[in-house]
Symmetry: C2
Subunit: 450 residues, 2 copies
Amino acid sequence: MAKRTTPMNLSFIMIFMIVLCASNMFVCRGEWEPSWSSKAAEKAEAVAAIPCSGHGRAYLDGLILKGHDEPVCECHQCYSGSDCSKFSSDCAANAGSGDPYFLEPFWMRHAASSAILVSGWHRMGYTYSDGSYISELLVKYIKNVHSIVGNAITEGKYIIFGSGSTQLLNAAVYALSPNSSDSPAKVVATAPYYPVYRTQTEFFNSRDYSYEGDTSLWKNKTDSNSIFIEFVTSPNNPDGKLTRGILEGPNVKSIYDRAYYWPHFTAIPSPADDDLMVFTISKLTGHAGSRLGWAIIKDKAVYQKMLTYLDMNTMGVSREAQLRALKLLDVVVEGDGKQLFQFAYSTMRDRWTRLKQIISKSKRFSLQKLSPQYCTFFKRQRDPSPAYAWVKCERQQDKNCYEILEAAGINGREGSLYSADNRYVRLSLIRSQDDFDILINKLKNLVAKE
Amino acid sequence: MAKRTTPMNLSFIMIFMIVLCASNMFVCRGEWEPSWSSKAAEKAEAVAAIPCSGHGRAYLDGLILKGHDEPVCECHQCYSGSDCSKFSSDCAANAGSGDPYFLEPFWMRHAASSAILVSGWHRMGYTYSDGSYISELLVKYIKNVHSIVGNAITEGKYIIFGSGSTQLLNAAVYALSPNSSDSPAKVVATAPYYPVYRTQTEFFNSRDYSYEGDTSLWKNKTDSNSIFIEFVTSPNNPDGKLTRGILEGPNVKSIYDRAYYWPHFTAIPSPADDDLMVFTISKLTGHAGSRLGWAIIKDKAVYQKMLTYLDMNTMGVSREAQLRALKLLDVVVEGDGKQLFQFAYSTMRDRWTRLKQIISKSKRFSLQKLSPQYCTFFKRQRDPSPAYAWVKCERQQDKNCYEILEAAGINGREGSLYSADNRYVRLSLIRSQDDFDILINKLKNLVAKE
């Protein structure tokens, strides 16, 4: 009798097991099961699963409406509605700020490898185990990224972190100043330049340094008693040109803002080896909100003065930001270490190409001239892919280019902000695809009207 | 026949299901299964599971030894070895810095509710949806904590974040200064005081303000043309006294450092309602490493000047730090909103009691006098529980109390750091239980020798 029942039992049990295995892998291959981390993981996945029609984003710390327990969608410019599905065509294109949302799709594709789970007791103290405010491991990762990209020489140099490059710029000005009130350092920059160099230097109103206008005013006039601190942005913000310092002489110190010296935005002709270079994760991985930058410093005394500045100002940089940067850079160097750069470069190059096609049809507007160049990272000649368009209004009567574009529904930034003529406007090309597409459409219409 | 085989089949299937249910809940009650978050969650739990003998901690961003793929244990002072199991009794007690590790056990007990999982694309932009650098939701949570504790009035006031209270102290000095170089503001504090007020004000060497020594030098002398900015720390660091401002008059502005105005460290006699108050998460939840503080400001113009300072200095505070603070405060207000405070108070009160018992046996050393007081939060009279012991060497010849304690293997901080006599030493009571236990043993031996 047993014999006759066995096949029936077996088949029954087999089916039972197949169903179980299908419904859940655990039984079949002993997988890890979350314990205390599952609540945080579930919440993060639930928020990430809110679609917002692909025209917005819900965040863990997004505003929660009364009576709801889920964050609301934060819609891209020109999109609205609870699910960001309503598009209003008469809304202006946001080409103003340099929020690097163009890299967001890369991180969504690398969701599993780029996520971090932070326990409630992670790094509660002021310092790391070596007594510093600086993660030794993150320094190691940063050096590794630079050596893979070949955009900066870090060997035998000191690395310090700041709350974004913003904090490091003033820390560098302080550190390069003589700190003797009788002869404050003269801080200069070459137009068109990133406004923060001037506004920040003036804002802190220190006895140690003062902003002294455009570099050109001081050419061949640096043989004075005062120290000159020249800001050099390379590639330059706003126009993307690879620039060099202008002033020369024993009294001249330079701060090289290298925020955009990545394959995303420029060819890398050779590794930068300046005495003081400033970088930021904002323009490398696109995480502007983390407020994490770093300086690479040749001189030990300058490094130590910058360390003191960071201690006095903020006692270093948030440990959460350092932990996150560590994970992001871990993904950047994955495999051959080229994935992020290939994605970033092709995105920016395609945007520049589309923009150039439109402006090429125009007599009224022109773009900065950038030519293909050999890149030691990609090991080939490559097309330009700047972070910003530096648009010029060519017509005699178009004295304020910002207003011309604004009237056509395009919000850029006035040339005068960069100490340049108002015939120029900076248009940000590194924002979300939605922002860029709206910008392109507005420009098409504007040029078509000529 | 079927009848005869059924019980056997059923029992077989029943046992099979029980085993499955025991090994994994999924089948029995459809639980959520992690997808992209599981790698991060697994890593965090693996690191948290490294025991370090209870005398150290392994962190996600801890240094990884060559050939290993797990972070190493970072051992508490006086403990060593790969698992922190080796104790060396001849090692000095660390009672120096105010790392608030005493709260770590609370967060380990609330592991599930206090963890956050940060996706790779979380808040990449510079601003929140309202265009600010400040999480509106976090502001809401902070106001809620203050209203539950009753330690500060926030209604009709402005809240701004800084990278720790450190950054806010100088932002406040800037905002209260007249910003006219002909009459810089005079910054003062009352000894013994937290050294950063002086060192930071002097360090930035601004034309807008200067440090002008002890408050007592200016009593009844404020009827001048200059603005006076008085730092008031209440409860005071180092001595835990609830203090008030000393200077009076139309030219006098005060910055109230309320870092320690929590039930952990003091009775709350009434909600603070000062014009400018500074708080920090470091002394509320114990997360010094997050670098997140906030100021509560009555005057809109002062608030706006502080906002400008934050923009110019760091473009706000790390979004990761703000997200984490949000989660931590979420746990703080859980249930009746008393759990954290009860834990923190009983821990600090017990430490103070143990310390007092030892010093009471001594003629050589004395502690600051603190008396029980009614607390509106606990709704009862409560014993003192200060963050620091302000020890005095009573013997005529013990002019340098720091050296006396150092010789006995106790590292505190010299009175002179707080602009006080070197007969005083500050001992930190808010560090880990290991640090406190070592401190107590060293003190016992020292007092026993009298």
